[in-house]
Symmetry: C2
Subunit: 483 residues, 2 copies
């Protein structure tokens, strides 16, 4: 029983011994008032220093698990380990509709899983080899030295103040008016969008969005019980006639838009369209949630103002931003810029959900940004990703028979195949040939898009981009011939 204690190197030995004995006691293998081996015996048995055993026994005594009787020895305390008769619940029958739906819509469980040896275009995660570890370390050490105790204790639901201030300036430099606005820091875009919908929708309300659109956003909208009114996309963004028709015909309470490097199409909405879309939505009293998705990953073309800048001194646009899409997804930090009274309500919702976002992460991110590292990183990232982007675009145009290919930036391109082709059939055949991609139908709000696919290239080598796209192309050509 004691000889079985195996002492590894990655944790203090006295804790390994006390953990082991604790387990023996709580499992009932050691009985109340049973005498434990003396420290002399145990240290010999385990071939360790006697002080280690003494420290382990002292720790157990502190926790009330053993008692020490002068020089009589160490005994197991009178522990109540007797439990109730065991009761096993069939949980799947008890979970809420909400949880069942979350499970059903969970693409990590029911989506495409590429095996390791495959060339996989399913991911739009950043390539971690671009990460700038040294400056993250520096930012951490500097912040810890400056105010370590503070950033390890409770912070504020609204966010870590230096970071909020930085982000306000950052949004101002994008042209947003800060008058009467405020910022809420969130656990990335996902929590930001979830809080926004909690704060502004009731079950059964309608939300307008692009069709196709970001699949995580679709999932969250469905989980909030919203009716989704998807607006067709043209080459320069929303089809304004359809936007007008849908806005007039519904009592939508919100519009969710991704104006730049739209996921999945990669389309950038033109400046003229931005203004026109906002004017249409204003006419029907529909405020906008703007997803600033990958706005920084612009490879060419000129600057375009985000919707929140286009809305001038008005307060009808709620901007959700996140550095975690390209910078450090492992730290979950995003933000919402919106009218200050609205942020007040959202702050209370945030507090009821997760109290606040990790102050440590916010402090590291702030220092990293303040030191000017983001600009250097983004320059390097843009170079790498734009090369891959151009390669993927060229190869797709050359090798994949298509109706349309779209994408002006970001970490993916979007392909529309001939109408009669089903991308899931193409995928099945491609996976036999060790290539995976994301079937585009998951991005559509109306069960269409069967003939579309998204290629994420951020984590695929140049060589594999060429090889993989050639295989996709040849599978499609073979299917066209066989039909």
């Amino acid at each position: 029983m004691f000889a079985g204690i195996c002492i590894g190197k990655d944790r203090p030995a006295y804790l390994q011994i006390s953990d082991h004995i604790k387990k023996l006691i709580s499992s009932g293998a050691l009985q109340s008032n049973q005498k434990l081996p003396s420290s002399r015996e145990l240290c010999k048995l385990l071939n360790i220093c006697r002080n280690t055993v003494i420290a382990a026994y002292e720790k157990l005594a502190e926790e009330g698990l053993v008692y020490i009787l002068g020089n009589k020895g160490v005994f197991v305390a009178d522990i109540h380990t007797a439990g109730m008769e065991s009761w096993n619940i069939e949980w799947a029958k008890r979970v809420s509709n909400q949880a069942q739906m979350a499970e059903r819509l969970d693409l990590m469980k029911h989506g495409i899983t590429a095996e390791k040896e495959m060339i996989s275009f399913t991911s739009i995660m950043p390539d971690e080899s671009l990460f700038d570890m040294e400056n993250v370390k520096k930012a951490f050490l500097y912040r810890m030295q400056l105010e370590g105790e503070k950033i390890l204790n409770y912070g504020y639901a609204k966010g870590y103040r230096p970071l909020s201030q930085y982000l306000l300036r950052y949004m101002e430099s994008k042209g947003a008016s800060l008058d009467g606005k405020d910022i809420l820091i969130t656990n990335g875009f996902t929590e930001g969008f979830d809080i926004t919908l909690s704060a502004l929708t009731e079950r059964g309300s309608t939300i307008v969005c692009e069709n196709p659109t970001h699949n995580t956003a679709i999932k969250i909208m469905k989980l909030h019980g919203l009716k989704i009114a998807g607006v067709r996309m043209e080459a320069d963004g929303l089809d304004l006639n359809e936007l007008e028709k849908l806005s007039a015909g519904s009592d939508a309470c919100l519009a969710y838009l991704v104006p730049s490097y739209h996921n999945p199409t990669g389309i950038v909405m033109s400046p003229e369209k931005r203004i026109k879309a906002l004017e249409i939505l204003k006419r029907y009293g529909i405020p906008v949630v703007e997803d600033g998705f990958n706005e920084e990953l612009r490879y060419a073309a000129s600057h375009i103002s985000p919707l929140i800048a286009c809305s001038g001194r008005g307060n009808s646009v709620i901007y959700i931003g996140s550095f975690s899409k390209i910078l450090f997804p492992g730290m979950r930090v995003g933000w919402i810029l919106a009218d200050e009274s609205l942020i007040g309500f959202m702050e209370s919702v945030k507090r009821s959900r997760s109290i606040h976002t990790s102050t440590l992460d916010q402090a590291i991110l702030y220092q990293y940004l303040q030191d000017g590292n983001f600009e250097k990183y983004i320059k390097r990232a843009r170079k790498t990703y734009s090369e891959k982007f151009n390669l993927a675009l060229d190869c797709s145009r050359t090798f994949i028979p298509h109706r349309k290919i779209s994408g002006e930036g970001g970490l993916h391109i979007f392909i529309e195949l001939e109408k009669h082709l089903n991308a899931r059939n193409v995928l099945r055949e491609c996976m036999n040939r060790k290539v995976a991609f994301t079937p585009g139908d998951i991005f559509f709000t109306d069960n269409t898009g069967k003939n579309t696919l998204r290629l994420g290239f951020s984590r695929v080598s140049s060589e594999d981009i060429v090889k993989g796209i050639k295989i996709i192309g040849s599978v499609i050509r073979a299917m066209e011939v066989s039909q």
Copy 2:
């Protein structure tokens, strides 16, 4: 316009210049195609090195905000800054019932706010001077060196594997059977409880809990639209007769219990009662959510098994734990140990809410725990807090006229005054005399507890504990005399 650029030391100068010019462009202060000062002029004007100005202009050019015409100079690009006519929404009229309720129940907004010079017993935050910064630094640097890229990129909704494994062992050493169980890492207790209620309740269902109980839990239960059935507390925990009556009379779907160092009463449920309570709940088909609140802050008495250990090999108890209550609240890390099929559903809910908890925080916490630092910290923290606890208890018994004082550990004690006294009136008078505490009514589920109060002592010096409690006592005595 340019002379106004003020260059500080805390951010690279070229970024301060480009930020400033960006703001001038996006606000419309600089017009499209307007010529900017030459780098030679600007560096003279600002008294900085010319390369800095050149770097700033290059950055603006990269972002498409200016264009450089050979040696003719630098010009503002053709930016669409024209916006829509501004539209101002009265957001308070548009927010959801959920958000209004979250705001109404937000104690950070409507609770007691002690001014700086007051002696405040309102907080149960840990005392940050006890924090062990050096070992946090070590844990960070070690983890970054080992797998920095990995912990900065996306992780898994269930959690960072080494931490999950550590916590499984930790729970096993508390006596929990791990058969058929799994762990989900959450953003602290708050998110864990929110996810649990989302996964297991529908609006309008009933939940059983102690009365009084943790006020954040009451808030979250209300936000989930639950009916709350509060069970009276006795000196050793739940009144079992009332538990039986309430369980029989309701179709409760869940019970929320804080068996150790219960908030706010500080009561530890006796081992016998734990088993009996579980058996009653089993009889009525009600599973338990166990809040492991401050379980580590035991100052005396022997070890008592958590409910999840008492439930043996059954799966009816869902344990929510958190190190952030005493260790590092700034990192938001908690966990749920429960049946593995249930954790599967909760994992999908978590993914839809915040994708995953900061991997960086989880990695730091894991290394810190694995190195055995928690045990050293808790030893130090117990010593400090138990001294304050005993002092606060002694002073309260001596100076405050009371019906009952409870508390066996943790960071607070709970006081029941004579029935005719209202703690809010006492508080008003105390605040005039620069002492604040938490009125106990906020912890009650049935609008009672007007004559109770909670004293949190974790952040009050010994001197102020004595002084503050004496003042509370004298205020109460004065009120009794005047009546």
